[in-house]
Amino acid sequence: MAATAPHAVPAPAFDAERVRADFPILRRIINGRPLVYLDSGASAQRPLAVLRAVEDYETHCHANVHRGVYALSQAATEAYEGSRERVRRFINARSTREIIFVRGTTEGINLVAQAYARPRFGPGDEILITALEHHANIVPWQMVCEQTGCTLKVAPINRRGELLFDEFLKLLSSHTRLVAVAHVSNVLGTVLPVKRIVDAAHKHGAVVLVDGAQAVPHSNVDVRALGCDFYTFSSHKLYGPTGIGVLYGREELLAAMPPWQGGGDMILTVSFEKTTYNELPWKFEAGTPHISGAIGLAAAMDYVETLSLAAIAAHEQRLLALATEQLGRMPGIEIIGTAPHKAAVLSFTMAGVHPHDIGTILDAEGVAVRTGHHCAMPVMTFFGIPATARASFGCYNTESDVASLVAALEKAREVFA
């Protein structure tokens, strides 16, 4: 997806039933039915490898990091910093100095907004986003606009949910200081042409932040191939723990930025007259970090790379194609987001049945989907709908899950017939 389209990659053998066995939660019975989990776009489930890595750390290796001279603290520090190196390899960053652990994508974007944009931007400067962004990639920039007097510009999309690239180009100018775009739309599934966006923005001297929350679980992301300046994503959408995520930033940008939060770990020396800040990446990690979260995230990265992200993506694309075809044949179903290049996210509406009612009826059948505005109210407004139902697929979903979705939607139609 980053450099290559997922369906262009030859698919290695992928045994989703074997993958399912790695996820204990999938054995749960919900409302008397086996769980059909189609909400990985909101949060993916955890494989045993992640659960065990976290448990092993908590059971045998926990102490605070970067502090003690004793063996346990050194072991914890090695495990934590080892996770940082794992992340570096995963996205092909140059250096671990470019890998900041944050709470999640939202915090990554806020860090850049407050520590990069806020001190630099002023009246006349522009921040350019797109019309399909998640609230997390809208509101932090609105706050910067309020704080600095700079202006937010929004590049439009079409009815298929694709970015109008020519319109995007027209909005780029010497006033554009920063471009912030989703790599993959959480509602529409659209994969944005990030490389082209980065190249165009750089010609105008603007830096580019990519919200990769929905892209990282479905593709090999190479931040150097993309050429972006900042890339941020969450662990829990990548089969890792909640409460941890990653902000990648080019070293020269991070080095020039002031710290965001002050406290322990982000300093070298403190006196009441003068404090010197720590080096990268710790300058941006005030306080005791989410150590077990970082370790769980590293285990999740090992897990998806063992399965092969290309194989996962190819498998999900088969499910997306199957579900798109089957839902497309159901009368009254309208699929929202029909870009040719999509990740495995399927938003839809059903004539005469509000998405909230779809969600309740599907739940009674054991089928978990997300319903609502998906933290993207402007996208709902663009399509003139209050909400959608959204099925999103992960490595553990199967054709049988698609069949359960279709059967449950038939049930919803019966209830509202």
Binding site: N31, G352, V353, H354, P355, H356, D357, T360, I361, A364, T371, G372, H373, M377, M380, P386, A387, V415, F416
Partner: protein, 147 residues
């Protein structure tokens, strides 16, 4: 969990053909309600005759529970005085939230909402219209939220 308990015929009927749907302009009181969880929005308009609600209408887009609850509410409160409406809301609230709420004959058709209490995330859908009506009667707040 029984879907038939939630989506009773009365609910489905009021969702399909909401009663008192539309606006009253000019009105004596008007408020907008919003449920950020599901994006439901509705407006309630009242015309008053002293303490009595002489006419009431609502409009908006929402799920079946929210639309049916608003429709049933307008039928139930039309012609009633404020104090009686307050008492009725208290009974509806108990119906929606208390597992052991005894059936109250004063509820009439509103009793069809009893299935909602088995679905805690849907209680806000059913109560949004009542909060919005309260705001319309107060004529002070111009927007209420269930959050």
């Amino acid at each position: 969990m029984d879907l038939k308990e939630l989506y009773r015929d009365v609910i489905l009927d009021h969702n399909r053909r909401p009663r008192n749907f539309g606006r009253i302009e000019p009105s004596d009181g008007h408020a907008e309600g919003h449920n950020p969880l599901c994006g439901d929005r509705l407006s309630v308009f009242v015309r008053l005759d002293g303490e009595r609600v002489a006419d009431i209408r609502f409009e908006g887009k929402g799920c079946a529970i929210s639309t049916a609850s608003a429709s049933l509410m307008t039928e139930a409160v039309k012609g009633k005085e404020r104090a009686a409406i307050g008492e009725l809301f208290a009974k509806v609230h108990a119906l929606l939230t208390q597992q052991d709420a005894a059936p109250d004959t004063a509820l009439g058709k509103l009793a069809a909402l009893s299935g909602v209490r088995e679905f805690p995330v849907r209680v806000k859908c059913a109560s949004l219209c009542w909060h919005t009506l309260n705001a319309a009667l107060d004529r002070s707040a111009d927007s209420v939220s269930t959050e």
